[in-house]
């Protein structure tokens, strides 16, 4: 089965097509946060270059975030629309899982950190598991300093990656057992998305477009304000 994967949860927009023979093609670009402008032409280009018709695609995979809310929604809305229009099942994968999967051959503990804006990052840690990585706990949102303190307290060798890790790298500089991944592995890869989704597709682990929701990990601002105002004093 061929899978089209779409990732738009960070400043980088990506799409890839692949299946049992691996990744047939991938397009990534990351200039000026033009997610909506870039994505549809990128999919069209990718189909042309891989000589795959949309009618040959068997499932749509999307990066569910967490990440840039607006960017994320571009990919999820487009993915849902494609899946609905072609009557295809969907597969959603967390952005942090995609970052970790690309580093699955590392023996270190992998820590992924995506920029959450407002001085915060979304993060999760992973360890190697047969054929991939295993996430240790739910993704968190917090300050880089909080994460740094948590990482400094452990004893394992660490590999820290993601655009959040790069943006706040000075927060992690004092940790000696920690290596910082460069910009080449800082964004979710659409290829990783297709690989992970393919394994799930073989198990028929699908969702319907209507049941797929982005991972925001943060309430809308107004709701936060409202809850605070409303809280019993």
């Amino acid at each position: 089965m061929l899978i089209l994967g779409v990732s738009t949860s960070t400043a980088r927009v990506g799409c890839a097509i692949g299946g049992h023979e691996g990744i047939l093609g991938a397009v990534h670009s990351s200039r000026g946060r033009r997610h909506a402008e870039t994505l549809t032409p990128a999919i069209e280009f990718l189909c042309r270059q891989t000589r795959v018709e949309l009618s040959e695609i068997g499932a749509i995979a999307v990066d569910l975030g967490p990440g840039l809310f607006t960017g994320l929604r571009v990919g999820v809305a487009a993915g849902k629309a494609l899946a609905h229009a072609r009557r295809l099942p969907m597969i959603g994968v967390a952005s942090l899982d995609l970052l970790a999967f690309a580093l699955r051959h590392s023996s270190r503990r992998i820590v992924c950190a995506i920029d959450a804006g407002r001085g915060e990052i979304f993060s999760a840690s992973y360890r190697q598991s047969p054929g991939g990585v295993q996430r240790l706990g739910d993704p968190q949102v917090g300050t880089p300093d909080d994460l740094a303190a948590e990482l400094a307290a452990g004893k394992e060798e660490l590999l820290l990656v993601g655009d959040g890790a790069l943006r706040y790298q000075e927060a992690f500089e004092g940790i000696r057992r920690l290596e910082l991944g460069d910009s080449g592995v800082a964004h979710p890869s659409a290829g990783s998305l297709v690989q992970l989704a393919h394994a799930r597709a073989l198990r028929e682990d699908f969702v319907l477009p209507a049941d797929l929701t982005p991972l925001y990990l943060r309430r809308p601002d107004a709701e936060i304000g409202w809850i605070t105002r409303d809280a019993p004093r």
Binding site: A36, T70, R73, A77, K80, A85
Partner: protein, 346 residues
């Protein structure tokens, strides 16, 4: 130049503010379906539209709303062997509006167009409001003056011909609908403010308080509502015993008076053949009544779209798209959202 529009069936998508809407319209005038999912309940507790909440709701609702538009039109959105689906183009609002909300509709619309292999058309929300009048009044003779009033816009537009408009006047501060929301919130009437003030004014005396008519005699067709809102606040603070229905009715009277006086003057100035109302505030019962009175008095045909056509909907998007498609052709797939888009100037 004129482009081939096939059977002329356009799927329109509207997500510029707090309504997720989809509609299928044939040849710009025949509405086969029009589905609007309002998020008003999601925003009511905040007293206004919260952009992040609106954008999230659009993502959840966009596919079900599109699917429903096909069901209600009795058409298929399933491409069968070689053939495309039952629509010939997909259109979506690309501005003006809330950027995060617009991007959901634009992204979904372009993806549907790609998946069905049909053209994509980006639609200007303001232009679509002008076409809402034509949908309900196909006989409408141009040129007309359109008063477009909603929570986001307050415009007097001279619609000279298809695709040819001149904005004669607009608001220099709050939109008319915004003034209704703010005054309603101040009076403790809840959200949305327009219907709340309309309802309570029925029991009030519109002559109880003589509120100012900002910019009325200034010779322009522009509006200002923020001073009027302040006048209401000051008056109530000074006269706490005043009846709320009287204040609401007097405020509504002032707004309608300014809107219609300027609209009539604009119509006279350009020699318009008719007057037309659009936007969510056009659902206000006093405005509708006075609008028809004014048309009678001026001996000018008045076009009053149905309530469903006044408020944000996707039928007007699909209709405007068809006229644009015929004259300008399809849009490229690298179209994005333009939150501050104005009316195209002739």
């Amino acid at each position: 130049m004129s482009f081939d529009t096939g059977r002329g069936r356009v799927l329109g998508i509207e997500t510029s503010c707090d309504e997720t809407a989809a509609a299928i319209v044939q040849s710009g005038t025949s509405v086969l379906s029009s589905v609007v999912s309002s998020q008003v309940d999601l925003h009511a507790r905040y007293g206004g539209v919260v952009p992040e909440i609106a954008s999230r709701a659009h993502v959840d609702l966009i596919v079900p709303v599109v699917a429903q538009a096909f069901v209600e039109a009795g058409l298929s959105d399933r491409p069968v062997e070689g053939a495309s689906c039952d629509v010939d183009a997909v259109a979506a609002t690309y501005g003006p509006g809330l950027v995060g909300a617009l991007l959901v509709g634009v992204s979904a619309g372009k993806a549907l167009a790609l998946a069905w292999d049909v053209p994509f058309i980006a639609v200007n929300h303001l232009e679509a409001h002008l076409y809402a009048a034509l949908l309900d009044e196909p006989e409408l003779e141009l040129p007309v003056i359109v008063l477009l009033v909603s929570g986001g816009h307050t415009l007097i537009v001279h619609m000279e011909d298809h695709g040819r408009y001149r904005v004669l006047g607009s608001t220099i501060d709050d939109a008319a609908g915004e003034a209704f929301d703010k005054v309603a919130r101040f009076l403790g009437l809840g959200y949305p403010g327009g219907p709340a003030i309309d309802r309570i004014s029925v029991g009030g005396d519109p002559t109880a308080v003589r509120f100012p008519r900002p910019m009325l005699g200034d010779g322009t067709f522009d509006f200002s509502f923020s001073g009027l809102k302040t006048a209401v606040v000051n008056y109530v603070r000074k006269h706490p015993e005043v009846s709320t229905p009287d204040v609401a009715a007097s405020f509504q009277e002032a707004v309608v008076d300014v809107l219609l006086t300027k609209t009539r003057a604009a119509a006279k100035a350009v020699g318009a053949r008719g007057l037309c109302l659009g936007g969510g505030v056009a659902a206000n019962s006093l405005l509708r009544e006075r609008f028809l009175d004014a048309c009678l008095e001026d001996g000018m045909p008045g076009y009053l779209p149905s309530w469903a056509m006044c408020t944000d909907n996707a039928a007007m998007i699909a209709s405007a798209a068809w006229y644009r498609w015929r004259s300008d052709g399809p849009w490229p797939l690298d179209t994005g959202a333009l939150p501050n888009l104005g009316l195209p100037v002739a």
